[in-house]
């Protein structure tokens, strides 16, 4: 039997991307054991009230009509030879952070949004900036951190993994954007974070899937998403970056309704309420 399975695996073509192209949602149905957790139980009626969400990105354009005011804006800066985090009014270097914050606002309208700008500083490496911003955000005990970023720099891996574990135990959920092609990047590959890729079913903008074939664990809509951009404008964009803040917003709603949830309970609630996960109804495992 094992031999047959090995033959089957050997015959599988290497995957070009992590996405679920060519597979219907029924084809990726998963049978799960556990308490029935519905989306309505998990976050129905919740608005993200009293939940603090931090967007670690390019900064945020506060006051954008699709975003409104934010609770705090910070930035990683070079100071005395090191990197530190300070309050800033520098805004958004490219629009991306504003876009992410806008999706979170749309999904969880009453959450408190904070921004840490880790992009745009001249000649400072992205990996070091992201690490400094993430370390600061975890120390602030935010409930949710949106990280539509990753680094390919292998030498940051151990420190990122330690930070992700620390966040996990502090009940700070890191929602991290996955690379879609099999690029080695972090921290989305760590099991301590909620990693997000994209589905492209625009008819189901509020549904998300659990991936039967991780490392990417969840897929949310990442195609033609309406976004706030710079100077009060809007664009539509596609990419995993924009699926991630939707999941961060869902996490904020769940935590506003179930504030004592640990990170592992939250991830379990996401898993059991995913559109393709059927609790206790059987089917192929």
């Amino acid at each position: 039997m094992d031999l047959v399975m090995d033959d089957v695996r050997a015959a599988e073509r290497p995957r070009l991307t992590w996405r679920l192209y060519g597979r219907s949602w029924d084809e990726v149905a998963l049978a799960a054991d556990g308490e029935p957790v519905t989306a309505d139980w998990a976050w129905g009626g919740a608005t993200g009230s009293k939940v603090r969400v931090c967007v670690v990105d390019s900064g945020v354009e506060a006051g954008h009509p699709l975003l409104g005011q934010i609770a705090g804006a910070y930035g990683v800066v070079s100071r005395d030879g090191g990197l530190s985090v300070e309050e800033t009014d520098a805004g958004d270097a490219c629009g991306h952070g504003t876009a992410c914050a806008g999706i979170i606002r749309r999904t969880a309208p009453d959450c408190e949004i904070y921004s840490v700008r880790v992009l745009g500083e001249r000649a400072t490496g992205t990996g070091a900036m992201m690490l400094a911003g993430l370390r600061w955000a975890i120390a602030q005990n935010f409930d949710v951190i949106n990280l539509s970023l990753s680094t390919t720099r292998v030498r940051f891996t151990d420190e990122l993994r330690a930070l992700a574990d620390e966040a996990y135990f502090r009940r700070t959920v890191i929602v991290a954007s996955a690379h879609n092609t099999p690029v080695e990047s972090y921290p989305w590959r760590f099991s301590s974070v909620v990693s997000v890729g994209s589905h492209h079913d625009e008819e189901q903008p509020e549904s998300f899937l659990y991936n039967p074939d991780p490392p990417v664990e969840f897929f949310a809509l990442g195609q033609n998403v309406l976004l706030p951009w710079l100077n009060g404008g809007t664009i539509r964009a596609s990419g995993n970056s924009f699926a991630t803040p939707y999941m961060a917003g869902v996490c904020a709603r769940i935590l506003s309704k179930h504030p004592r949830m640990t990170t592992f309970q939250l991830k379990n609630a996401l898993y059991l309420s995913a559109a393709n996960v059927n609790v206790g109804i059987g089917g192929p495992s």
Binding site: L16, T17, R19, Y21, S58, S78, D80, G81, G82, L83, A93, C94, G95, H96, L119, G120, E121, R122, A123, T124, G125, T126, G127, A128, M129, S148, L149, S150, T151, T152, R153, V154, F156, S177, H179, N180, T181, V183, E184, S185, S198, H200, G222, Q223, N224, W229, L230, N231, G232, G233, T234, I235, R236, A237, S238, G239, N240, S241
Partner: protein, 192 residues
């Protein structure tokens, strides 16, 4: 062999760079396609190849790597597609207008070698769409991987002026070195 403006001048390098953008433009039926390479020291992105709109005027032009969509892609290594740019009051419009062409949509993917992003492959106004937007993002990302391998050969052969992707410390290494020096200084200051 590199020209003073930092562009490849030998025929093989020129042909390789041009074929990357020509093929990218053809794949997507696009108005234009460009390759930017990152000048780490100046922290600028430099047009190294252009196909279509702007082909005659853009080569060698530079813009800050810390802003804009290409800047975000080079900083994060994530591909993306942006659409409906006419509704964006910003979208680097000044830059787009200075380059003589203002796109409606833009598709960008990183050029990655090993664990570093050294440039961006962009496609302007892909149309008409024969695939979904996410499929386009994935296709460009896959093509960019192939292009990156080829471009790396050009860079290593000639070490194009202004594109210092190897040798010395990159910004992350410098930041780490500065952090180490800072920590050592603090340790020395507090240990007496």
């Amino acid at each position: 062999m590199a020209a003073p403006g930092g562009l490849a001048v030998d025929s093989l390098s020129r042909e390789l760079l041009q074929s990357v953008v020509d093929v990218a433009r053809a794949i997507f039926g696009a108005q234009a396609s460009s390759v930017f390479l990152l000048d780490v020291e100046a922290y600028e992105l430099v047009f190294h190849a252009v196909s279509g709109q702007g082909q005659r005027t853009l080569l060698g032009q530079r813009f800050p790597a810390g802003s804009g969509i290409a800047g975000w892609v080079v900083a994060t290594g994530e591909p993306m597609l942006v659409d409906d740019l006419t509704h964006s009051a910003a979208f680097d419009r000044a830059l787009a207008e200075s380059t003589g062409y203002v796109p409606q949509s833009l598709l960008a993917a990183p050029l990655i070698q090993g664990d570093r992003v050294f440039g961006v492959l962009e496609v302007l106004d892909p149309s008409p769409r024969s695939r979904s937007n996410l499929e386009s993002v994935d296709l460009l990302a896959l093509f960019a991987r192939q292009a990156a391998a080829a471009l790396r050969i050009v860079i290593e052969r000639h070490q194009l002026d202004g594109v210092r992707t190897s040798g010395g410390l990159d910004p992350d290494d410098r930041a780490s070195a500065r952090q180490l020096m800072y920590s050592l200084q603090r340790l020395l200051d507090t240990s007496v």
